[in-house]
């Protein structure tokens, strides 16, 4: 077939596709709201696109002019971007994710999660006990000035817990910047063969355990425990989950099994990103509790501990039971 005949025969289809792409492709939501559309019906677009692809193949094969091939190629690329774009995020889906999918994802990776917990909890307990037995060991972790700062933060005489005079909002920003950055970095550094999260978990465990042990020993224990018990439920579990996701990524790199290494990494990255989304939300909640609840000084110990216990039960129950009633998706 000569080029002129080819164009005459198919021109109308190309124009219809072009008009559809111009009018309806950019935003499905807007397209759905617009009921007055009289051009190519949405449901016919995939078929029209496939025909266009075939015509492009023919035009290339038959050596039609570069002009025509370029025009068809551009239409095809725009069509491809519409056909294969990822689905739009939906709010209902986000709700489902946090209630059910996130705990399922954590349980699905229970091996690395337990490993991350061990990497975090064992150094924590070890350094706590070590400081109880030999108090001077705290100075291997912190210098004198840092020790004094921690002691000042949890001075029983202060009206507010865990800080000097900064306002709640200022500390909220501080917690968000610090803890969430640490969480995300713990996951991402898993790409270094899992060494990043292992190191981050162990170092954090040692530090937290050491500081807690020292404060307990030096008579600052009451304000310290009252301060941390609330937000620790979200913060510590989130850090462990981020570490577990990072370990998973590192394992995918070291031992991809029967998959190609790159496929294992892509898979691990995708799962890790979902987990990071959950970690992000948990740390947001933790920062909120830490800034606006944990610091309140006048609430008696039993109030703090019962709320803290409830939060721990909530988080662990969520991770243990969340999404159990759903079939594997």
């Amino acid at each position: 077939m000569r080029q002129e005949h080819f164009i005459v025969r198919h021109e109308a289809e190309w124009l219809a596709i072009e008009q559809w792409l111009d009018a309806r492709a950019a935003s499905p939501r807007r397209a759905r709201a617009d009921r007055g559309w009289r051009g190519l019906p949405d449901e016919d677009f995939p078929a029209a696109y496939r025909r266009l692809c075939q015509q492009l193949g023919l035009a290339r094969r038959r050596g039609y002019s570069p002009q025509l091939v370029a025009r068809l190629q551009e239409l095809m690329q725009r069509g491809h971007a519409v056909m294969y774009r990822p689905p739009l995020p939906r709010w209902r889906r986000a709700f489902e994710f946090f209630l059910a999918d996130m705990p399922r994802l954590v349980r699905a990776e229970s091996g690395v999660m337990w490993a991350a917990l061990a990497l975090f909890a064992i150094p924590l307990l070890a350094s706590f006990i070590a400081v109880q037995v030999k108090p001077e060991l705290i100075h291997t972790l912190l210098n004198v000035q840092q020790v004094a700062e921690y002691e000042a933060m949890y001075d029983p005489a202060l009206p507010k817990l865990g800080r000097d005079a900064e306002s709640d909002l200022a500390m909220f920003g501080h917690y968000i910047m610090n803890t969430i950055s640490i969480g995300l970095r713990t996951f991402a550094s898993g790409l270094l063969a899992g060494l990043g999260p292992a190191l981050a978990l162990a170092v954090n465990g040692f530090m937290i355990g050491g500081v807690a042990g020292h404060l307990q020993l030096s008579g600052h224990g009451d304000p310290f425990w009252r301060f941390v018990v609330g937000h620790a439920a979200f913060e510590l579990t989130a850090i462990v989950i981020a570490g577990g996701a990072g370990l998973r990524l590192g394992l995918d790199l070291i031992a991809p099994g029967r998959r190609r290494r790159i496929d294992a990494l892509v898979e691990g990255g995708r799962r890790g990103a979902w987990l990071c989304l959950g970690v992000f939300a948990m740390l947001l909640v933790a920062a909120f509790i830490e800034a606006f609840w944990s610091s309140i000084g006048w609430i008696p110990a039993w109030g703090k501990y019962s709320v803290g216990g409830a939060l721990w039960a909530l988080v662990l129950g969520w991770l243990w039971f969340g999404g159990r009633d759903r079939h594997a998706a």
Binding site: Y49, R50, C53, Q54, L56, G57, R60, G63, Y64, S65, P66, Q67, L68, V69, A70, E74, M76, Q77, H80, A81, Y84, R85, P86, P89, E166, S167, D168, L169, A170, M171, F172, G173, H174, I176, M177, I180, S181, L184, R185, F187, A188, S189, L191, L192, G196, L249, I262, L265, V266, G268, G269, R270, G272, A273, W274, C276, L277
Partner: protein, 226 residues
């Protein structure tokens, strides 16, 4: 490493060409984005500075957002283009040529943490130089790549009065060469035009100035004028 165009075959059986972007344009795009982020923070610090302690908290929240969320949100919302990438005509796409999704945008930007190691995106640079399509580690894990957005700008074609069909059928590469000649001709000396047109004498059937005139006519014919 020499052929940086990735050719993907779509499920419909046609080839999609993805011209991978190298480290220099990507670094420039990053620098533009960095400037925008810095500007945002400066503007915010002026406003929030007068609010005292609360302002400090909001500033830190903003700092977090600018550091972690800015690239994710830009790439998710604007079809894989942060303002810097838009300025340099770059785009993040999935490695099969489809638009990048939110999840992939999250992964590739979270992984910046590793690409930045040990300093100045050194890991990302090494990975980008080793990988045939210039992907940094984050791109590898997210299954994405950064491509040049194709520019469909046609140069003005040389003037010509007549339109004429070629004397013999031309292959696509030959057609392209003739159109390219017509686009470049206005910037060439007449002697050079004649020299080049003489090579195409079998198609035009003429030599010298007449050959140039006919070649322009063929180019117009190929571009669809009748």
């Amino acid at each position: 490493m020499l052929d940086t165009v990735r050719e993907v075959h779509t499920p419909e059986g046609v080839a999609l060409r993805l011209p991978a972007a190298g480290p220099i344009p990507r670094a420039l795009a990053w620098a533009i984005d960095f400037g925008i982020r810095l500007g945002l923070l400066m503007a915010a610090s002026m406003v929030l500075g007068v609010m005292g302690e609360a302002g400090m908290g909001l500033y830190l929240v903003l700092l977090f957002a600018v550091f972690w969320l800015y690239p994710i949100i830009c790439e998710g919302l604007f079809d894989g283009q942060t303002p810097g990438k838009r300025a340099l005509d770059l785009r993040v796409v999935s490695s099969d040529g489809a638009p990048v999704g939110w999840l992939a945008a999250c992964v590739r930007n979270l992984m910046r943490t590793v690409d930045m190691l040990p300093f100045g995106y050194a890991c990302g640079l090494v990975s980008g130089l080793v990988d045939p399509w210039g992907r940094r580690l984050g791109d590898l894990v997210a299954g994405t790549m950064v491509v040049h957005v194709p520019k469909n700008r046609r140069l003005p074609v040389m003037e010509g009065d007549g339109v004429m069909a070629p004397a013999l059928p031309l292959r696509p590469a030959e057609q392209q060469a003739i159109i390219a000649f017509a686009e470049r001709a206005p910037r060439l000396t007449p002697e050079r035009q004649v020299e080049l047109a003489d090579i195409a004498a079998p198609a035009t059937g003429a030599q010298g100035g007449e050959g140039v005139r006919r070649l322009a006519g063929i180019a117009h014919w190929l571009l669809g004028k009748r």
